[in-house]
């Protein structure tokens, strides 16, 4: 029975995405990157920091894409394809983790604040205001530079901030749902608040949740890329932003187009995929957009 629920849910999601050509595009891209992230260590042809030599035994420094090096090499003679693949894993890991954690925080704050209202709401919302006062990247930079360049600090820093938007929106939604009869009825039936919040209200904001999960992941990816590009990232793990940072500091930005193009395209693809999917959900979450 539980399973069937999940199944129905998935089917529903599929329908939503299927119904929207942007959504479809997004889903395909996501699937693509997801697979790569999973298989990364097995499909990456070379080591992350390995300086390659060409068939002639010369160091393959800044080679344009060729049969030998499909996506070219870096100033250190490293295979860009491999870096890209391994970077996908890290990027997806960071995006997914911080995206999910932040929606978890945001959703719960939103739900509780919206449902209980009053003092609790006041407290939560002031808190959200404070977080809104935090300049995002600077916060990231400070935290990372203080506590060390390490994936987990990056994730923590991101999570500390980006839940704010989802919290506000979900709260507003919950407030309106709270008034509906069936909630009142459930109250009358003496359902526990917990049951009402997670059993009755939660399902109704599901599309919104998914929408903001997508957003949060997108934002995390962008944020991480930004921080990495500024050099505030784990030097022993590479991400797309990190690749661009290496390019930037190598000073080859104007010549090594292949080195610049691939990570940039990956970032844009992944993020826009998420944005498009979230737009598909937006149409569900607020039908007004549908008519167009």
């Amino acid at each position: 029975m539980k399973f069937s629920i999940i199944k129905d849910f998935l089917v529903a999601q599929y329908k939503i995405i299927r119904g929207n050509r942007f959504g479809m595009f997004g889903a395909v891209i996501l699937l693509f990157f997801g697979t790569i992230a999973l298989l990364a260590p097995y499909i990456a042809p070379h080591e992350l920091w390995e300086s390659l030599r060409d068939s002639g035994g010369k160091l393959a420094i800044l080679r344009q894409p060729s049969l030998e090096f499909p996506l070219g090499t870096t100033a250190m003679g490293r295979d860009i394809l491999s870096q890209l693949i391994l970077a996908t894993r890290t990027t997806v890991l960071i995006g997914l983790t911080s995206g999910l954690v932040s929606i978890l925080i945001g959703a719960n704050i939103g739900l509780l604040a919206g449902y209980y209202g009053g003092k609790l709401d006041e407290v939560f919302m002031r808190f959200t205001d404070i977080i809104y006062g935090m300049p995002f990247l600077p916060f990231l930079i400070v935290l990372i530079s203080l506590f060390g360049r390490n994936i987990w600090f990056v994730i923590i820093a991101i999570c500390c901030i980006i839940w704010r938007t989802s919290a506000r929106v979900i709260r507003a939604q919950v407030m309106s749902i709270r008034q509906r009869q069936y909630i009142q009825a459930a109250k009358a039936r003496g359902c526990s608040n917990f049951r009402i919040i997670y059993g009755h209200i939660m399902p109704n904001i599901l599309p919104l949740l998914l929408l903001y999960t997508a957003f949060n992941i997108a934002w995390s990816v962008l944020a991480e890329a930004g921080a990495s590009f500024l050099g505030f990232s784990d030097p022993n793990n590479i991400t797309w932003g990190g690749m661009l940072y290496n390019l930037w500091i190598s000073g080859k930005i104007r010549t090594a187009w292949w080195w610049f193009a691939t990570p940039s395209i990956c970032i844009i693809l992944l993020v826009s995929a998420l944005v498009f999917i979230s737009r598909a959900y937006e149409e569900v979450a607020n039908p007004r957009l549908k008519q167009r």
């Binding site: 160091l59 250190m76 500091i249 190598s250």
Partner: protein, 549 residues
């Protein structure tokens, strides 16, 4: 403003205590001798981030990969440079540090790399012997070369010292990077390259002529200038700006030997006494005359406030007395060979009538923290303006006894080495001042109207070892490592070939002092393993290295 106790406790939480513990316990204490036959613990090569210098994390990475070949797990650990300095020079809490010892003109005299880097007394908070290295024989030699006033004799000692230092391997000189600088030959001519500074040298500053334009030379720099405080000056880039505005008694000539400058002549009365005659009618930029009084004041003041860069040498001065309007006599506690090149050639003369009120009137506790908004010196250039983080402008000081040929110099900050290169390529700027990334240099060299090459340099990239920590406390182990580091690869892949394989701490470029007998160990892993095996190290079936059992 910051509470360290809390800082540390919190930090322990965060990092699971590893680093924190050592911070609390301090160095040494934590590192008791390892159990016989124990696994050689993994270690880290600390270095600066790529933002500061892209070369360093890469080399650190290559080295750590290389060390795996002898069954030793090592990881690169690039962190912000200040943390490097703090952890290594202040706290001596590190395993290995990969760093660049730049070829400042003040380092042409062998004293710095021999005495300051190797003498056991220099293992102190802030000292240059952060390796904690000590060897009585070497101690004797490096002191001896300091005292020896006869150049030829001194040279003998220096050569001997180089050999021993190289065998001791308290640090491994990986590569002498060339001084890679560029300038627009279609805009400026008469550049004077100099050992360790290329065309960024002081002699270029005063001799170059501007072919077209307003006569000002536009100099691009990758990172903003921090201070213009002649007393507090520590790093090379600060010296490069300051020496235009402030004069020194001597200047290190293009060939590396000191030339009389503000002091028009000198006489060694005896090994511990030197008489200086100051050039007549020199004036400060504000018109005040420069007299022997100012010179004496400079010495006393710098000594009093422990000018960081010269403190150790100033300690050797017994007193400085004025022997006439233009006469000064410096009395030393003991004879000190590098006096002229390392102190008189570097110490900036400061005007008494301004600095006598610092720090009191400036509202700072310590002249080292004095911002010195509008520096007044006696140098060939006088300060114009400084828009912080953006641009600094100095103009020719025409009253100077050796006025520059150009109208002045404008130093502009560009975000990155790449931006600097682009600016020179587009003709926005005429030259760069300090090292330009080798990879970029090669591109620039192709541009018409630009001369970009690498000039000889006596500075070097080096991997320094914490000689108090096992296994690095074992000279044999360090020697083995010397055979493992792939210097050729590093030079080819990371330094674009614009560097030479490193050996002695005194570079070949420093022709007079270099001992050509000292050669780098060959890159030979087999040899390395032999050395280790000989001194009893073993490998388990996984190929991991173990201490002698």
């Amino acid at each position: 403003m910051f509470n360290n106790q809390i800082g540390r406790r919190e930090f322990l939480k965060i990092t699971g205590g590893t680093i924190g513990a050592s911070m609390l316990a301090g160095p040494g204490a934590l590192f008791a001798a390892p159990a016989p036959g124990a696994l050689v613990d993994p270690m880290k090569i600390m270095t600066a981030t790529a933002t500061m210098d892209p070369v360093r994390p890469e080399v650190a990475r290559v080295c750590s990969e290389a060390f795996k070949n002898i069954g030793w797990d090592v990881a690169a650990n690039p962190i912000d440079y200040n943390q490097n300095v703090q952890k290594v020079i202040m706290e001596h809490d590190y395993d290995m540090w990969f760093v660049m010892l730049s070829g400042a003109s003040l380092r042409i005299d062998p004293n710095v790399f021999l005495y300051q880097v190797h003498h056991s007394s220099q293992f102190r908070k802030g000292g240059y012997n952060w390796e904690g290295f000590s060897d009585s024989k070497i101690d004797q030699l490096v002191v001896a070369q300091q005292k020896e006033m006869d150049v030829e004799k001194r040279r003998q000692i220096v050569n001997e010292a180089q050999v021993l230092c190289h065998e001791a391997q308290s640090l491994n000189v990986i590569a002498y990077m060339q001084m890679t600088t560029a300038y627009r030959s279609d805009r400026i001519k008469n550049v004077v390259p100099m050992l360790g500074e290329g065309t960024g040298s002081f002699w270029t500053d005063i001799n170059m002529e501007v072919v077209k334009g307003d006569g000002y030379v536009r100099t691009a720099r990758p990172s903003p200038l921090k201070k213009l405080n002649p007393v507090a000056a520590k790093d090379t880039t600060e010296f490069m700006e300051l020496r235009m505005i402030y004069d020194t008694l001597f200047r290190i000539g293009p060939d590396g030997s000191p030339k009389p400058w503000a002091a028009e002549s000198y006489k060694m009365v005896d090994p511990t006494t030197i008489d200086l005659t100051i050039r007549k009618n020199m004036t400060w930029h504000d018109g005040e005359p420069l007299t022997a009084e100012d010179v004496k004041f400079t010495f006393d003041y710098s000594a009093k406030w422990k000018a960081p860069f010269f403190n150790s040498i100033l300690q050797k001065i017994d007193n400085v007395e004025v022997t006439g309007k233009y006469g000064v006599r410096i009395k030393l506690k003991e004879s000190y060979a590098p006096l002229i090149s390392n102190l008189l050639g570097g110490l900036f003369l400061i005007p008494q009538h301004i600095w006598k009120d610092i720090p009191e009137k400036a509202g700072v506790e310590d002249p080292l923290n004095f911002p010195n908004e509008t520096p007044i010196g006696s140098g060939p250039f006088k300060f114009d303006y400084w828009d912080r983080g953006r641009e600094i402008k100095v103009s020719a000081f025409t009253h100077h006894f050796n006025p520059p040929k150009c109208a002045g110099i404008i130093g502009t900050v560009y975000g990155s080495h790449d931006a600097v290169a682009a600016a020179i390529e587009k003709g926005e700027c005429d030259r760069n001042r300090y090292i330009l990334k080798p990879s970029l240099l090669l591109d620039l060299a192709k541009v018409k109207g630009v001369v970009a090459k690498g000039y000889p340099n006596h500075g070097f990239y080096t991997l320094t070892y914490n000689c108090l920590r096992a296994p690095l406390n074992d000279p044999e182990f360090r020697k083995a490592l010397a055979h493992v580091i792939p210097k050729e690869l590093i030079i080819e892949a990371i330094l674009s070939g614009l560097a030479d394989v490193g050996g002695s701490v005194i570079a070949p470029a420093n022709k007079f002092w270099h001992n050509s007998a000292v050669k780098s160990y060959p890159n030979d892993i087999g040899k390395a393993k032999d050395i280790l095996a000989k001194s009893g190290y073993t490998w388990d079936k996984k190929g991991k290295l173990h201490y002698p059992g």
